[in-house]
Symmetry: C2
Subunit: 378 residues, 2 copies
């Protein structure tokens, strides 16, 4: 049997990619042509020239999102550049359509300078109703997103940050319910301070969690540590109040929750045994998690989640981003706020009516997911 990689390549080759652009209206004769194109289209142009907001209901802007990447952080593969980013951005666009009916189009940028990316996205923004930033490396992704949010009048979201944070929170809501713990009391260690780690940390604070330690490749992040970049400096302000220093092994001691957005296999059974009772383990490195679920369970984990579809409790962004943009487009939201995403996480958690340790999140193909999330974005 061919493996998934071979089959994926064959599928992409057979169809020459995954996306097609089609007409929603027929063009079979001169009458059709006179309405879709000249002369009829002239009146649609005139209406938009008079009232630019009319583009939102007279053009594809009503339902279209750009999936923008510079190819600098493609999956776990690194900086592969614009061309090699296309299959991922096409795939993401496919998911937008299949899960939420959003028309999404991949924009893969040939440049990696922050200012140039911001300019280019602003220059091409008119046809889009929203911008989904994707696979842009940290810390560049933070400034790019912040600036575009401030300078564009359509919603902008870096999914690796906020989509991930939303799904993590949804998973935690049900995990804490099962464990009988409150957000205020649990102690969290987040390993990884890239786009996802930073966003999860900030979002969990926003959601009411109090005690979070973040660690990176060099160990625990604390105020005053050498060579912290501005983002980690900021994290050090509000995480790790006790100013603990040391390695991950130190960081996990006495913690209730481990959230890994880091590297394969770095969490050992030994470390889990040093956590509090009934630890919750979100090992989200992809495709190989920080610890394999069976090992984590043997070491005493109460709940284990990964990014993989072949284990229970898959934490997959596809649970969030389609509904987030569906809601933003439907409700003409100009900025997707943390408050909206908090509500989205709560709605997403509530889709699972009876959470179990091996079922804290709904299946991505559950039809209720998109509407639950979309209703929160308004």
């Amino acid at each position: 049997m061919k493996d998934v990689y071979q089959r994926a390549v064959e599928l992409h080759h057979q169809h020459r990619g995954k996306l097609a652009v089609v007409s929603k209206i027929p063009v079979k004769n001169k009458n059709d042509l006179s309405l879709a194109y000249t002369p009829g289209v002239a009146e649609v142009c005139r209406l938009i020239a008079k009232d630019p907001s009319a583009a939102q209901h007279l053009s594809l802007k009503a339902n279209t999102v750009a999936v923008v990447s510079d190819g600098s952080a493609i999956l776990g593969l690194g900086n592969l550049g614009a061309l090699a980013a296309i299959p991922v951005m096409e795939g993401k666009s496919v998911l937008f359509k299949e899960f939420a009916g959003v028309d999404a189009f991949p924009i893969c940028l040939n440049i990696q300078d922050v200012e140039e990316i911001i300019r280019t996205v602003k220059n091409i923004a008119p046809v889009f109703g929203g911008i989904n930033l994707e696979d842009i490396s940290a810390p560049r992704c933070f400034e790019i997103e912040e600036r575009l949010k401030a300078e564009l009048d359509i919603p902008v979201m870096h999914d690796d940050q906020h989509g991930t944070a939303t799904v993590v929170l949804a998973g935690l809501i049900n995990a804490l319910k099962l464990r009988g713990s409150s957000r205020e009391e649990v102690k969290i260690i987040i390993n990884g301070s890239g786009a996802a780690g930073v966003a999860i940390t900030k979002f969990l604070f926003f959601a009411g969690f109090k005690d979070i330690i973040v660690s990176d490749r060099r160990g625990i992040i604390y105020q005053g540590r050498d060579n912290l970049n501005p983002i980690k400096e900021e994290l050090a302000q509000f995480t790790n109040r006790q100013k603990i220093s040391g390695s991950l092994a130190t960081a996990v001691q006495g913690r209730d929750i481990f959230i890994g957005v880091s590297a394969p296999g770095i969490l050992t059974t030994e470390m889990i045994k040093n956590m509090n009772d009934q630890p919750i383990i979100f090992a989200l490195a992809n495709p190989v998690p920080e610890i394999m679920p069976d090992l984590a369970q043997k070491a005493g984990a109460f709940i284990v989640a990964t990014g993989r579809s072949d284990f229970p409790n898959q934490l997959n962004n596809v649970l969030a981003f389609p509904g987030i943009f569906r809601g933003a487009l439907d409700h003409h939201v100009r900025q997707i706020s943390d408050a909206m995403l908090l509500k989205a996480a709560e709605n997403l958690a509530a889709v699972v009516s009876n959470p179990r340790p091996d079922k804290i999140l709904p299946d991505p193909f559950d039809k209720k997911v998109v509407m639950a999330v979309a209703q929160a974005i308004r």
Copy 2:
């Protein structure tokens, strides 16, 4: 009965624009997801990272064209800007799909600076297999096209120039056959020196016509005329060898062919009467031509063509651009050359097996058109 403008607006409102982006492959379960997205897609990315040319057969780049405008010259409506340009670019994209199976996506730029347009198009080029420039005002359009052709490795064509020129030549080929004239002997007056006028002039010289006079709003263009911009200066080098000066009325005297890409109603019956016998009149101003066909005929015109679908002999770009890009994509053409377009015009003319004065070009819905044109672009 509602007029075409009202009906067009209603259609655009009902469908919220005209274009949708769809998946060519099913995503109905986890297996589908693992091939279209992670983990399978990673291998497709790796292949392209290793060999960038693989993007041409493993991604949407294989069949996708950007329809790029800055909204500076929308139809005959003027500089309406990016948002008001969307309906036209969407319409053009619809035609690409319906007539040639090309996936086209509108890119409407929020900026009108030449350098900034060039940068932006280069930055977003990776996902596209070709660039169709559209409704960009002269003389900016010339530099933008020239530079992008030189700096990108995918075909770039400004349709208002070369699509128009190709269709005009195709029409002339059959018109001359009917009139029994050769390219070398006929005398042409081209009124209008915008994007279309300039491109038609140059292309007709390339095709073997010898005697062309060009006029603009200020009258006949001749070497040494005041305030000629560099493009008109260039035209003055190889047109109007006799250095005639004066108004359009002077320019048409003793000419065999009038080609208008200018303004409504500026050609009078009087002027046609001063042309040579059996004059050929291409009155292409849209929607109101330089002279109405019935008037032209009464004044003695042998053949009259316009841009309109409600008269015989419609010279419509849709006869050319879908096939041109179909051919360029299928044959991996990096630059669309004049020689290819000359062959395309000849093939297009040949689709009409028995031309008549009221039938010099095929119907746009004639299925033979696209392949005839596409075969020339290789």
